[in-house]
């Protein structure tokens, strides 16, 4: 066992905490689920390998001396993944600042603060690298199996990307602290993280819509304009792509550079981390005076009071808004496609409808969790003289109301092009939202709203059911908009999912 107060001892402590945190995340706190989780992970890994085979098997023979189109494709994919890694790393860094947990103990102990935070930053980097490697593993494994071991170098590139993403997240968050202060950093960092995570995908989709009328991000990457303006194939810009394609010199350079950047970031920022963590600790005591407030009580029914409360709480919590912002941001490309379609009269709404329906299902799932499970005063509401059914009804109405507010403009624009398509889209949105809400009702639990980020861990069945029902209703809506009776197929699947959920629900 290493001596206390050394880097190795602190790293051991962080590793132990990290491991227990991960196990709790996977098993939702039920240690007896470990075996089930292990089996589920194996099945998931197998499924991901099949999925990866379908996506990348055809690229396994790509050689090192690739042409510009290949380099643009690989680099674009890497940048796409990196933006998501950066988004996740920013989340982790912000959380490290604002989660109190053991910070009081650490900051009052005689251990070097610099040393503690250097280890903590390394832990964040380690987690980012591990997530990146695990997500990329099925794709790299398939490429290595089909195209040889040279593809294994991609693991090094992915790890270096995770390291650079963490370094960039540290730099960005510290810069935000200096620029806007501890009070606003949390909110802005969360929004920036959400925007970064979505911006690259959305940007490519928008470019593709304008260049080819397609929503595929790869269409933009392979466009003539992009290929004409790309740097020369010998440029250092392509090193990561070369490294992925099996160039050992590029691999060494990318890995060395990636971890050097991380090392420098940790060395530079670990000293300031403690000061900023202290500043963040003072934020919870900040007074927020409500600018606009009602001077008088208004006469409202209990249901309306409940609905209004849900909307007010959501509207006043920018952190929760930023968490749901991702889903709404993804609506921008389809909305743009709709606008382009409407302008050109091309009628390609069949592509748009499933995207919108899917987004509605996902958004409703999040909102339903907040409204139904994330009730911060459950005893107050339960001890009120209102029937439990009416409380639930009011909360469902609050969710559906918010969904209507977000999606009504899209349906309205769609109605100008085709009333039938608008009707199908509206029905699809309502059905997907209602299904996601029903799933949340079946698996409702008692939690704090601040636990929103971890809502998936309380029930993985609910998470998967929510995703699959949204997909099924999206397919139903797309096929219905195309005017085919095959739409009944995915509709029956969605109904089957909901029936299954009701059967296995702990509330059944």
């Amino acid at each position: 066992m290493s001596r206390p107060d050394t880097l190795a001892w602190l790293a051991g402590h962080e590793l132990r905490l990290g491991w227990r945190d991960w196990v709790a995340l996977m098993t939702a706190g039920h240690r007896n689920r470990a075996r089930t989780v292990a089996i589920a992970l194996i099945v998931f890994a197998a499924f991901m390998h099949v999925f990866a085979y379908w996506i990348v098997a055809g690229y396994a023979d790509a050689n090192v001396a690739s042409d510009t189109a290949m380099l643009v494709g690989v680099t674009g994919t890497l940048m796409l993944s990196w933006s998501l890694l950066l988004s996740q790393a920013m989340e982790s860094v912000t959380r490290a600042f604002y989660t109190r947990s053991d910070l009081d103990l650490i900051l009052t102990s005689p251990v070097s603060v610099r040393k503690v935070f250097a280890v903590r930053m390394s832990r964040i980097a380690g987690a980012s690298v591990m997530v990146a490697v695990l997500l990329a593993a099925p794709f790299i494994n398939v490429l290595a199996m089909r195209g040889g071991s040279r593809w294994l170098g991609a693991f090094g590139v992915v790890a270096a990307m995770g390291a650079v993403a963490t370094a960039a997240a540290l730099a960005l968050t510290i810069a935000l602290f200096r620029l806007v202060g501890a009070k606003r950093t949390r909110l802005i960092a969360q929004i920036v993280a959400a925007v970064i995570g979505a911006a690259f995908v959305i940007g490519l989709q928008i470019a593709a819509i304008f260049s080819s009328g397609s929503i595929s991000r790869f269409a933009a990457l392979q466009s003539d304009w992009m290929l004409a303006h790309a740097p020369d194939t010998g440029s250092a810009f392509w090193w990561p792509a070369h490294a992925v394609l099996g160039d050992p010199r590029a691999l060494v350079a990318v890995v060395a550079l990636g971890f050097a950047v991380l090392g420098i970031a940790i060395a530079v920022f670990s000293g300031r981390f403690g000061d900023h963590a202290l500043a963040a600790a003072g934020v919870s005591n900040t007074v927020v005076r409500q600018r606009r407030w009602s001077r008088f009580f208004r006469r409202r029914s209990a249901s309306r009071v409940l609905r209004q409360k849900e909307w007010t709480l959501l509207g006043r919590d920018p952190w929760l808004i930023s968490q749901t912002l991702m889903q709404i941001l993804y609506l921008l490309p389809p909305a743009l496609l709709l606008w382009v379609t409407f302008r050109n009269g091309a009628g390609s709404y069949v592509v748009l409808i499933p995207v919108v329906v899917m987004a509605a299902g996902q958004l409703a799932g999040g909102l339903a969790w907040l409204s139904i499970s994330g009730e911060d005063a459950p005893d107050l509401v339960a001890s009120a003289p209102i029937a439990a059914g009416r409380i639930l009804q009011a909360k469902i109405e609050a969710v559906i109301g918010m969904i209507a507010l977000v999606f009504a403009p899209i349906v309205a624009v769609l109605a100008f092009d085709s009333l039938f398509a608008a009707l199908v889209a509206a029905l699809g949105i309502l059905t997907a939202a209602a299904s996601a809400t029903l799933i949340q009702i079946c698996f409702r639990t008692q939690a704090k709203r601040s636990q929103f980020r971890r809502r998936q861990t309380s029930s993985r069945i609910a998470t998967f059911a929510e995703a699959f029902s949204s997909i099924a209703w999206a397919a139903t809506s797309a096929l219905a908009a195309a005017g085919t009776w095959i739409a009944l197929g995915p509709a029956l699947i969605a109904i089957g999912i909901l029936a299954g959920v009701r059967m296995i629900s702990p509330r059944a």
Binding site: T286, V288, Q290, R298, S301, A302, T312, L313, P378, D379
Partner: protein, 265 residues
């Protein structure tokens, strides 16, 4: 073994019953509440004391309609709380040790929300809310979001919420936990005034001095059963320690094996 509780005197028996619990039972892994009988009279301050895990909170949660009992009956002001929970809740307030408020609402908005849930007319509810805000010293913070409030202030907001609909029965679970002396005194004064105005308060507490000073009667609960009940003097007599403090009496009572539960009034 301690002596059984003395019979109630006639004057007490004539008082209206605010809460009547009969044969109440709740089982989790083991029995939490076991055939509990409890009577609290109108205008009375009743303290329920007992060791950790005795079943105090479970009992009060069932009375407040937050937990369904396995057996037994609960009547609040003559209303069967299990058959007609909405009517029973209309005249009841529940306050736990953890203040149930919304960080993003101001005290004024919180009270408007609670008044709306209890379907109180806007005008009288607002007047009452302003009175409570003033009374509890929340006026300077009435339009600040609760997220920056100290524990004491949060508990005051929650207490205002419990009182805004003018309940006949207030049920409090460890309401003084974590409060500083000033906040605790405010809460105690409010509860005293409530009882003086004819309201009924039933409260669990670990602070025996509070029970000793504030309660008209004290119930001692252990292993889910009411093992002793009465005024301070009556409890002393039961243990034969007439000059002892409530703490001594309490420790003597819970040290003895649970035998005969106290008969219902």
């Amino acid at each position: 073994m301690h002596a059984p509780a003395p019979a109630l005197d006639l004057s007490q028996a004539k008082r209206p019953i605010a809460l009547a619990v009969r044969g109440l039972a709740k089982r989790f892994d083991r029995p939490a509440v076991d055939a509990l009988d409890l009577t609290v009279y109108g205008g009375e301050f009743y303290a329920l004391v007992g060791p950790n895990g005795a079943g105090k909170t479970t009992t009060l949660r069932m009375v407040a309609g937050l937990l369904r009992p396995d057996a037994g009956s609960i009547a609040i002001d003559g209303i069967d709380a299990l058959a007609d929970p909405v009517a029973a809740k209309q005249i009841t307030a529940w306050l736990s040790d953890e203040p149930m408020i919304y960080d993003k609402l101001t005290p004024f908005e919180y009270l408007e929300f609670v008044a709306g849930l209890w379907r109180i007319e806007a005008q009288p509810a607002e007047a009452r809310a302003r009175e409570l805000i003033d009374w509890l010293g929340l006026e300077p913070h009435a339009h600040e979001r609760c997220e920056g409030f100290s524990r004491g202030m949060r508990q005051k907001v929650a207490l205002a919420g419990a009182l805004v609909h003018d309940p006949k029965l207030i049920i409090l679970d460890e309401p003084l936990t974590g409060l500083d002396a000033g906040s605790a005194r405010v809460v105690k004064n409010v509860l005293r005034q409530r009882v003086a105005a004819g309201g009924t308060v039933i409260m669990t507490t670990h602070i025996l001095e509070v029970a000793e000073r504030m309660a008209d009667r004290i119930g001692v609960i252990a292993s889910g059963r009411l093992i002793a009940e009465g005024t301070l003097e009556e409890l002393h007599r039961q243990t034969g320690k007439t000059a002892a403090s409530l703490e001594d009496t309490f420790l003597t009572l819970i040290a003895e094996p649970v035998a005969q539960p106290v008969a219902a009034a």
